[in-house]
Amino acid sequence: MDIVVCVKRVPLTEEVDLVIDEQKKGIKKDQLAFVLNDWDNYAIEEAILLKEKHGGTVTAITVGNEDDEEVLRRSLAMGADRAVRIEVGDTSRFDSFGISKMLSRVVKDLPFDLVFTGVLADDDYCGMVGMMMAEQLGIDHANMVTAIEIEDGKARTTSELEGGLGEVSLIELPALLAIQTGINEPRYVSILGIRKAAKKELKIMDLSDLGIPDEELSPRAIIDEVYLPPETEGAQILAGDPDKIASDFVEILTKKGVME
């Protein structure tokens, strides 16, 4: 059972006040801490669990620069056998489409039964790379996977749908699965574990190794500008009689898309 897992290093933004950079196309990242994207953490863990159950290998792969190797080392420390980094200089030149093309190009040459990606990345929240790769690789796929079982060359997956519903499917391998959080409990890796994982194989490839013509990687979706959401002065207090308050309350919930 050979599994390739695509991982991404994203900034930790929970407690931080984000600052827009000078070009207004991104945020200032120099003061931020970076972690393995939460969804990818679950994906790696799931791959390791399947490897422990069925044997085989797990390869972790990312597009990024030297700093991004941190997430590969973490993946190796969790139990991946080898890692690949695709060096492309400034990653912000590429959009999800370009990233997926690069990843597919490399994955195509690896032996694999399954490709895992996280459903989303914590920074851009696009959720496109996985399914694009599936299409580019011409393999079957499932999204928002919360359970996987392998039986006779097929994967029985449960995908998370809205409202507490799940969808069970039987998919032929090789396949690509976008992994949803909560599918498992990712194991802890200690600092010592990560230091020791540095001994495992980490291959570096660059754009020239991929042989994709530049035009094919040019972004199809471009960020024009980013900006902060409009300021709020603490909580907006809902006023009026109970009925009015209740109406406002329901309106807010509707706007947030949780009134289904």
Binding site: L12, E15, Q31, Y188, L192, K196
Partner: protein, 680 residues
């Protein structure tokens, strides 16, 4: 004195007495050596430990704690009983030797013991024998009638049989020797002094014929020297092994309280290790295994353990005994096959012998180590077990998130390091210097994470800063350059992360120069002083401010007149681990108009608030009440309305506990510095 009966010269079935003695003596010793060898085999594969430093200190402690048994009277009456039995035993050693001698050679006498010294000793031994006999009987009755709760086990049944057996054996030894002496008197042995025990025995034996008396004498003799060999060989089989191992165990005790041992004493770089921490018994150091041998099953540790008291799965004594029994089972004395594990290795402890929550329940408060009369260590073992659990990912998810936040942001909240000194901006009356490269100050104020980010504890930091300012101290803080002291991280078992954070802080310390470090919290104080490499002067704020208060540089001007009754709670890492009990009390007492009461459990018997490590990130499910609630109840019982503490975690835990105990309005908790500064 001379003896009327010579066991060495008797004949039994043609075999002369001295041969029988020889046989008993050599046979007994040979068996004993074999048993000791088997016990040694468990120590052999164990990890190294460095225990031969500070020899004078060790000898001194040996006398105070080993011979004078200073810790015994912490439980007063039984402590006294034990001291009597122990000293009795020591005193009777000469008698025992003499008795064996008499079995080998008629009229055997030890050097110097021929004349009046010997006679005097004979009196002494007689009195001691009464003392020991009565002490043993008292101990047996106490066990049987008042059944002290701390002898019971939480899980399984305690081996009380052994206690009765040994007390019985000792009593038997006393009785046989007294009977010997008693019949000896009736047989015409004359002594320089009137021997109370022997005389009493002789009254009981009065009326028996000379031949019968001789038989009585000899029976008691042979039974006695046989029983001693039985006793000796019985020792290593159970808790009475401590009779042999306690003295070395006390001598080899851990001298540097508060610090945590490195993963391996003989390996500097943890990356070179295949595994970290303790998985199986042989991963412990030999001293820790000696600890297991030495447990007397007295239960004092568990009796004082706050985790045990609030119903958590942890009972320190049982942890020790379970590991001990498992170790004995895996390398038994009298059979070839080990039960559990191979001949070479024990089983992994977690899951087979111990449960994870037992280990996570410990708050490292040190109450167990403070009580143990034979100086068994617990904290290092807990940390070693946790180290293994961390490396094998056997840790609760809540820890993982906290540890990741420590790693990425240098604080457990995940707050950006750049904001670490933002609290300084809320101070309009004092300006705080954030140290930059090359700055020189007298005092580096190490704020640490909670005081930097938690609004409640920021108030404590502000009070400290006001105090420093008022006293005219030249101080500064590291601000964003400061990382968490990593005290919790190390005690949670994440040694790699601890080393990483230590390195970060060491780098920050190098950039400026200072004479001493003052900390907000006892945990940071403890680790900077005891765990970090380098030797600065590190003080907790109480130690630092006391001289300033005593010299008048800081003077309270307002008096407290609010009718509150104050009590001081000793934080574990200030009190027990670092012996700082009086400085905070003096600071408190310096406040005019303050009314202070002392809780029953104070100073080294203080009761942990719930802790500032595991407690922050993971809640043990199995628990009857929170430690904080228990302690608040103690304060309430002592008549206090305000609990004063010098540790931020105590502050937070008590604040919570007061609310959940329903005592909000009746009681409150305040930090010592905040209180003091409010009176300046």
């Amino acid at each position: 004195m001379h003896y009327k009966v010579q066991p060495a010269l008797e004949h039994y079935l043609g075999i002369p007495g001295f041969l029988i003695t020889l046989f008993i003596l050599l046979g007994g010793l040979a068996l004993f050596l074999y048993i000791i060898y088997k016990r040694y085999l468990l120590l052999r594969p164990a990890k190294p430990d460095l225990r031969l430093d500070s020899l004078w200190h060790r000898f001194y402690d040996l006398i105070v704690y080993g011979i004078l048994q200073k810790r015994q009277p912490r439980y007063l009456w039984i402590g006294i009983l034990h001291i009597l039995i122990f000293w009795g035993f020591v005193a009777l050693a000469l008698r025992t030797t003499t008795l064996y001698g008499l079995g080998l050679k008629a009229e055997f006498v030890l050097p110097f013991m021929g004349g009046s010294l010997g006679e005097f000793y004979h009196l002494l031994k007689d009195i001691f024998e009464i003392m020991v006999l009565f002490a043993c009987i008292a101990a047996i009755l106490r066990r049987a009638i008042s059944r002290p709760a701390r002898y019971e086990f939480k899980h399984g049944k305690a081996h009380k049989f052994h206690a009765y057996l040994v007390l019985g054996l000792i009593s038997f030894l006393m009785v046989t020797d007294i009977a010997m002496d008693g019949s000896g008197i009736l047989l015409g042995e004359d002594r320089a002094y009137w021997l109370p025990a022997a005389q009493s025995a002789s009254y009981l034996l009065n009326g028996l014929g000379q031949d019968t008396l001789k038989t009585v004498y000899l029976w008691n003799y042979w039974l006695h020297i046989l029983s001693i060999m039985v006793f000796l060989n019985y020792l290593p089989l159970g808790k009475h092994f401590h009779i042999i191992t306690a003295i070395p165990n006390v001598f080899l005790r851990k001298l540097n309280k508060g610090s945590i041992k490195p993963p391996r004493w003989d390996v500097e770089n943890i990356e070179d290790l295949d595994s970290l921490g303790v998985e199986r018994v042989e991963d412990f150091t030999w001293k820790h295994i000696l600890d297991f041998y030495t447990c007397t099953e007295c239960g004092r540790c568990s009796d004082n353990c706050p985790a045990n008291t609030v119903g958590r799965p942890l009972s320190p004594m049982e942890v020790t005994l379970k590991i001990r029994d498992h170790a004995y089972e895996s390398k038994p004395i009298f059979s070839l096959a080990g039960k559990g594990g191979s001949q070479d290795q024990g089983l992994p402890l977690i899951g087979n012998v111990l449960e994870p929550d037992e280990i996570w329940s410990c708050t490292t408060c040190g109450a167990c180590e403070e009580e143990c009369p034979v100086f068994i260590e617990y904290i290092d073992k807990m940390v070693d077990l946790r180290r293994h659990m961390v490396e094998s990912a056997m840790i609760p998810k809540d820890f993982q998130d906290a540890l990741l936040r420590f790693e990425k942001t240098g604080n457990p909240f995940g707050k950006p390091p750049a904001k670490r000194a933002d609290w300084v901006n809320e101070l309009d009356d004092v300006s705080v210097k954030i140290l930059e490269e090359g700055d020189e100050v007298d005092v580096l104020y190490f704020v640490d994470s909670y005081a930097s980010f938690d609004p409640q504890i920021q108030q404590v930091a502000m009070a400290i800063v006001r105090g420093l300012n008022k006293a005219g101290v030249a101080f500064g803080i590291l601000g964003p350059g400061e990382s968490d002291s990593a005290h919790q991280v190390r005690r949670l078992g994440e040694e790699g992360l601890f080393q990483f954070l230590v390195e970060e802080n060491m780098e920050a310390f190098k950039t400026c120069s200072f004479k001493e470090i003052v900390t907000t919290d006892p945990h940071a104080f403890n680790t900077l002083k005891n765990d970090y490499p380098g030797n600065w002067i590190v003080k907790h704020y109480t130690e630092f401010f006391l001289p300033l208060i005593e010299s008048g540089r800081l003077k309270p001007t307002k008096s407290l007149d609010n009718g509150g009754i104050y009590t001081y709670h000793d934080p574990c890492y200030l009190g027990r681990h670092n012996d700082i009990y009086e400085a905070p009390r003096k600071i408190l007492a310096s406040i005019p108009g303050i009314r202070i009461v002392e809780m029953e459990r104070n100073r080294d018997r203080s009761f942990c608030c719930g802790g500032g490590d595991v407690n922050l990130f993971y809640d043990i499910e199995e628990e009857e009440m929170r430690m904080g609630e228990k302690r608040v109840a103690m304060a309430h019982e002592a008549g206090a309305t305000v609990i004063v503490t010098a540790c931020p975690f105590c502050l937070l835990n008590f604040d919570d506990a007061i609310k959940t105990s329903g005592l909000e309005g009746e009681m409150k908790v305040v930090d010592l510095m905040e209180l003091f500064v409010s009176t300046i």
